[in-house]
Amino acid sequence: MASNILEIRDLVNVASGHTIIDHLGLEIEEGELRVLVGPNGAGKTTLIDVITGRFKPTSGQIMFRGRSIGGRPRHEIYAAGISRKFQVPTVYDNLTVFENMSVGLRGHRKVFSSLTYRITSKAAAQIEEVLARINLLARAGDEAHTLSHGEKQWLEIGMVLASDPQLFLLDEPTTGMTRDETTKTAELIRDIARRRTVMVVEHDMSFVRRIAHKITVMHQGKKLTEGSVREVENHPRVAEVYLGRQKISEAT
């Protein structure tokens, strides 16, 4: 049996008097592709924020490969091997696509090592390889603000890939994408998950069905249920919390 890459125990996050995450437990196995769903305000994005060090946990434990990372500084959590993609495409608009990728590139995080670092041909080849995977190789020299919304989403995924995380957290990567782009993104994420552990927050159930084998449903900061797509869709409480009485399968 595979070991857990991430173990969250009894996690609580309180922000200005509101309990956003309420005694949450979550375990993700090495190499897994996990999807996290839940209605707005369920605490999905906050969970990613707490795991990556944007917010400190109020109480509870976050273990990454047996090491406690809860409340550690962001750069330490990154160094441990966790990277994230934001919901809104977050790229460097006035830098070129290639330059964006080179910022993501793993290594040379300290001031003095980045002062002397020059991108090697090996690193450039590595960047080009990722750019080819995200269909942006032809745009390498263009500034990022010239990309379409979907392309920016891919660029950010590419930047995170360049940072070579062990655990890749994606917050609603298909937001604002066309159906065609969504399909490509699903393929891309499945491909990424072959070599690393991935956790995706997603609303789009057709997308979820396409990529997921295990789904965790969050509601009001708690874990509501967990299981396969079919199990989750047939869970009575899920339909209830998700968009009122509407069945989750229609909520796309």
């Binding site: 962001r74 990154y78 990277s83 809104v88 608009d93 910022v103």
Partner: protein, 364 residues
């Protein structure tokens, strides 16, 4: 030496440096002195461009470091001048000290009599000050408009300090009559050489991987933090380097100008620097040069022509440039050149929104 420039700009750079080098032969002492002072301001603007144009930290306190460097040098020259000109300073101490009841130079100030100690000490002191100030500000995640306000306060505090401690600083009247290096062509060339070296250094910094990270911080600080960069350390480093560059510029300015006052340390110069960089084009090193020379040059020429309305005219130039070319002169020209090259390469020029520069809050 290629100055790290693309080939198409190298010839232009060499030409400009050449013109500046021979300028005194044709223009006379007055204009040479003026241009020397402008070059000091150019270095000041360049340092601001590193922290604002490239890193997105809007500092309204950059003059603290310029003025700090200037006061170290002016005070040093004054101490020496007073001690060695008994005909004018019978007591051997600076006039402002005498007026404030001092009978001797305080012991702790004596080492400053040696300019070869005072000038480097000033630069190091400003570097240390910037490091401490930057550490407090950036480690506490103060950014955007809050950073502008806190640096403005820094500027006000130091201006007030200079005015208040008049026994040691000359107070409101500043420090004058200390013998200067004006009308000295060799000193003008020293200033020019330092300016060129600073541009080369700034070019090295901004085109390195480090410079790329600085720009990523300007574009989206939060994204860079989650890529494992300790953003505060980057900011502290560039803030400190810029402060030391400012201090060098200030020291040269004081030595050339022969008079300095609280204006060189206060918010006025700090804000003027922001204007020069904005007009030239922030995030383009050469913009610091173009903006400063243009505005200072216009100020000087217009004030000779129009006794009272020159200030209005300079303001008008500033407003026109910002409205018509929000990326500044050089920024706009570079953008157009890029567009032309894209067209020539057969690619449709992409829609180009105006540069965003310093954001008040990190997005996402």
């Amino acid at each position: 030496m290629s100055l790290g420039l693309p080939r198409r700009y190298l010839a232009l750079a060499v030409l400009v440096i050449g013109v500046l080098f021979v300028f005194p032969f044709y223009a006379g002492d007055f204009r040479m002195n003026q241009l020397g002072l402008f070059l000091c301001f150019v270095m000041f603007a360049l340092s601001l461009d590193l922290i604002w144009g490239f890193t997105g930290i809007l500092s309204l306190g950059n003059a603290v470091y310029f003025g700090g460097g200037a006061y170290f040098v002016a005070l040093s020259l004054k101490l020496k001048y007073a001690a060695t000109n008994p005909a004018r300073y019978g007591s051997g101490i600076p006039d402002f000290m005498e007026w404030n009841g001092l009978t001797a130079v305080p012991v702790w100030m004596r080492p400053l009599e040696n300019i070869w100690f005072a000038a480097p000490a000033g630069i190091l002191a400003m570097g240390l000050l910037a490091f401490v100030f930057g550490f407090i500000t950036f480690k506490r995640h103060i950014y955007g408009v809050y950073c502008a306000v806190i640096t403005l306060a820094e500027s006000l505090i130091f201006e007030e300090l200079i005015i208040e401690k008049q026994a040691y600083t000359g107070g409101f009247n500043g420090i004058t009559d200390y013998g200067s290096y004006s009308s000295n062509i060799n000193f003008y060339w020293v200033i020019l050489a330092v300016t060129v070296v600073f541009f080369w250094l700034a070019r090295r910094i901004t085109t390195s991987h480090f410079g790329m990270i600085l720009q990523s911080i300007r574009e989206n600080e939060l994204r860079s933090e989650f890529f494992g960069f300790e953003v505060a350390n980057y900011k502290i480093f560039v803030f400190t380097v810029a402060a030391m560059m400012s201090a060098v510029a200030g020291g040269l300015y004081a030595a050339l100008n022969g008079i300095i006052s609280h204006q060189e340390i206060g918010p006025l110069l700090s804000v003027e620097g922001v204007i020069w960089v904005a007009v030239g084009g922030r995030g383009t090193l050469i913009g610091a040069f173009v903006g400063t020379i243009l505005i200072k040059g216009a100020e000087s020429l217009l004030s000779e022509q129009f006794a009272w309305m020159w200030g209005l005219l300079v303001g008008l130039i500033f407003i026109l440039v910002i409205v018509l070319m929000p990326d500044g002169i050089v920024g706009t020209l570079l953008r157009r050149a890029r567009r032309r090259r894209a067209l020539a390469a057969g690619r449709a020029p992409a829609y180009e929104p105006r540069a965003t520069g310093a954001e008040d809050t990190p997005t996402a």
